[in-house]
Symmetry: C2
Subunit: 253 residues, 2 copies
């Protein structure tokens, strides 16, 4: 069933009201009418089954039939810090990472990032990524849309990392050296709702200097299996591993 | 270091000989010359560190310095049966799935596959996918290039499945119902080098009829976490989970 994220103010006890792009999408793309059902999620952890009662081109009113009880969020909060990759790879990462349960994305101006965001383009780029995250969250039945922040420097990143329970950096050299136990050992220590920060390098990897600064700040180097993953594949590996560990293996339902 | 897959016949005890596209790539793209080093892998489980000794436009001779000992293949063999997806999604699946360790890919003519391969296009499409798999295997330091077969019908698929130790089908309805323990329970039963067949539906999912036929043939329905994954994300989830389980959690190095 089609799912829409709406503001809390658009919900009353019995009614959900949809405007703008959502109202257009419901009518033009989904071709829904009175009596059709959809899901409204408030981006604060609740989702409702609704049935359309009235339609005008600009506004749709739907009756709330019931609140959904099943939680579709990852048990731990995973924030992906992504060394700015080339081209439109960040769009792929945000789309797939949202499906896989990321809580937030922080683009990172890494030493070897070839891609730079011009100051006057930041707003537009963020708006596009946020739209991709919203659509992927709707499609994958998330209760929350991941946050996407402006690109940060390494100094800002280390400051931000103070708010996290655990912080790791995916490091190719670690993978080559065969250190593969760090990630499961860290997962085993984590409890529900704790926050994990994951740093992924850009195409050229992180520099030795960056690795030194991050490990000095308490980041743990983790291998992600025996193979060398591309920058856009690494975040999906970590998120899939987190889902497997916390949703399938350890806690199940 | 750059890695090239070559035929076993191109290797002698002390020398690797590279021709054609590889010889061109080494000279034109990598701009390597005498004394530069590269890795040659024979697609049968061995890889060698080599140093270039002589270069002509058509042929490069490199001395074998040593054989690599570290295995970069997944401990279990995972074959991805992919319901034919729209557009060029299969290319993304083959590229990323190869990085994540898939042993083989089998395109599947599912009931709800919108994409069809015309008979006269099959050869060309397979050649392109095989090239993508080879490049991804080189980039991710695999010892084997995954096989890619022609699209199969459900009858062919069930016949093929007889050769596998375990067979699963990712089923969205299972995910919704909250059955999330099947995959780890199955992984716990598997031993090194055993073969797992994984069926993923196309965009519209598998039909009830297909699910019935597969479960009757011994396939187990598995949930892949709490969220609804797109068809191209599901195989990466299964492969990442397999790597996490067998390479990081259970066996490590």
């Amino acid at each position: 069933m089609q799912r829409y994220f709406i503001e809390k103010e658009q919900l009353s006890d019995q009614t959900a009201t949809l405007f703008g792009d959502d109202a257009k999408h419901i009518q033009k793309v989904m071709r829904m009418g009175q009596g059709d059902r959809l899901i409204c999620a408030d981006n604060e952890g609740s989702a409702y089954l609704c049935e359309i009662r009235s339609i005008t081109p600009d506004q749709i009113k739907a009756e709330i039939l019931k609140k959904f009880e099943n939680n579709t969020e990852l048990p731990i909060h995973v924030t992906i810090v992504q060394g700015l990759p080339k081209g439109d790879k960040l769009e792929l990462i945000v789309q797939k990472g949202t499906e896989c349960g990321a809580k937030a994305f922080i683009p990172f101006k890494a030493e070897r990032s070839i891609s730079k965001w011009a100051d006057n383009k930041i707003e537009k780029k963020l708006a596009r990524l946020k739209k991709i995250a919203k659509e992927a969250a709707e499609q994958s039945h998330r209760l929350n849309i991941p946050d996407i922040s402006e690109p940060v420097s390494i100094a800002q990143l280390i400051k931000i990392s103070e708010n996290y329970h655990q912080k790791i950096v995916a490091y190719e050299e670690t993978a080559k050296a065969g250190e593969q136990h760090a990630l499961p050992e860290l997962f085993k220590k984590m409890r529900a709702q704790e926050k994990l920060l994951v740093v992924i390098g850009p195409e050229g990897g992180l520099s030795e200097q960056e690795i030194n600064e991050l490990t000095k700040a308490g980041f743990i180097c983790c291998g992600l299996g025996r193979r060398i993953l591309r920058t856009e594949t690494a975040p999906l590996y970590v998120l899939s591993a987190a889902s497997y560990h916390f949703e399938l293996l350890e806690w199940g339902e």
